[in-house]
């Protein structure tokens, strides 16, 4: 370049270069399939095979099958849907029942909240009541055909399981129970909040505490 650039010329060049980058042609179509975007985990798209470089395309078919199953659940009448969700929840709890008896170190609440935010896009507003919760387990989980957040905390009479299951379903709160446990499934802004404990546990108190301090992002 031999002549000095004017401010306008410089701006034009910068604008041209910044705008020269264009999205891949197929990206718009991917974005217009929100049913594939429903699970709430950040990064889950890669798991769904939408990230070409990751080589996960082989996972698309089984995931698609799960989505069809999820759609089927969504179209059932509410009682059937609730029963199916309850079964999923209890299956998950029994599958990981060993965790309920663990006496591991407590996980700091900010850590719990941070993991929750990473996994399902929600966090806990800290308050004294929330900070008194004693959480012994906090991880992602595969439940009800999606990636949820599973935490276990010490209750008054035993372990209490809490799950957050991302969903756009507009639903009503419903109780669940089996021979051993009772619980409640509460629709919140970004998904279901599930609280399950043994039958003497004050489940609704935990439900109230958590729903009152749960903030979904955006």
């Amino acid at each position: 370049m031999t002549e000095r650039l004017t401010d306008q010329e410089l701006d034009d060049l910068i604008r041209h270069e910044l705008l020269s980058v264009s999205a891949p042609a197929e990206l718009r179509q991917k974005l217009l399939r929100p049913e594939l975007l429903a699970p709430g985990k950040a990064g889950v798209l890669a798991l769904f095979g939408l990230s070409a470089n990751d080589g996960f395309f082989r996972r698309v078919l089984p995931v698609a099958a799960c989505l069809v199953a999820a759609l089927g659940i969504a179209l059932w009448n509410p009682d059937d849907r609730h029963a199916a969700l309850a079964e999923e929840i209890f299956s998950h709890i029994y599958m990981e029942e060993g965790l309920l008896a663990q006496r591991g170190d407590l996980i700091p609440l900010p850590t719990v909240s941070s993991r929750m935010e990473d996994i399902v896009g929600a966090h806990l507003d800290m308050s004294q009541d929330v900070e008194n919760l004693e959480v012994t387990f906090a991880k992602d989980c595969w439940v009800a055909k999606t990636i949820g957040f599973h935490l276990i905390m010490k209750g008054e009479t035993g372990a209490v399981t809490v799950m957050m299951i991302p969903s756009q379903e507009k639903d009503v709160e419903f109780n669940i129970s089996d021979a051993k446990f009772s619980g409640v499934v509460t629709p919140t802004e970004g998904g279901y909040l599930v609280v399950v404990g043994n039958k003497r546990e004050p489940i609704s108190a935990y439900r109230n505490l958590l729903t009152g301090h749960l903030e979904w992002e955006y």
Binding site: I14, H16, E17, L18, A23, L27, P34, A42, A52, Y218
Partner: protein
């Protein structure tokens, strides 16, 4: 307002808060902004693959929270803010070293720039933008791609307006120094 917005994009932006279904309004949101969101992600992360992932994650979250979007005017800033947060989260977790900026080829060949020395100049500029420190690069991207004002950028980046204006000035000066080394540089 982004000066390169097409009539189609303008229509899409009108539909976002129109009377359509949630799905239709989401589709309008995607159509209006996915290219800008991809560009922003690309210049933030300097990788097309990362940009694609970030764009998908951004719209995934936008879809989930779509009902909370109150007005068309806020849509773009909302999306850019989601993307910034996703990018920050990603880097907190993985600290990836992704930089395919050297391999960049514009997806839309520009017939106005077809001379070898012009192409060389644009490659130089591309690398210079990518090499800008993030504190200078990001306000510039938000201004040029997002079409945001200094005050809007200040709000998004949690800075004061003067800081943003200074960084924009210095960013341009740094790029000028690359393209026009004989020109007199200015400093704020």
């Amino acid at each position: 307002m982004n000066p390169v917005m097409t009539a189609k994009e303008s229509d899409d932006k009108t539909v976002i808060e129109g009377a359509g279904t949630r799905q239709q309004r989401y589709e309008a949101l995607v159509s209006a902004y996915y290219n800008d969101i991809f560009r922003y992600a690309y210049w933030l992360g300097k990788s097309r693959q990362l940009a694609e992932d970030l764009t998908q994650e951004t719209f995934m979250r936008a879809w989930r929270a779509f009902d909370s979007l109150q007005s068309q005017g806020a849509a773009k800033a909302w999306l850019f803010t989601i993307l910034r947060r996703e990018n920050a989260r990603r880097f907190e977790k993985f600290q990836p070293e992704l930089d395919d900026i050297e391999d960049h080829q514009s997806a839309i060949p520009d017939t106005r720039i077809n001379e070898p020395d012009q192409q060389m100049e644009m490659r130089l500029l591309h690398k210079a933008i990518a090499d800008l420190e993030p504190e200078y690069r990001e306000p510039l991207i938000l201004q040029v791609i997002g079409g945001f004002s200094g005050e809007e950028i200040a709000t998004m980046l949690n800075l004061n307006n003067n800081t943003v204006m200074t960084r924009l000035f210095r960013a341009r000066n740094k790029l000028r120094a690359v393209l026009d080394p004989d020109g007199e540089g200015q400093d704020a």
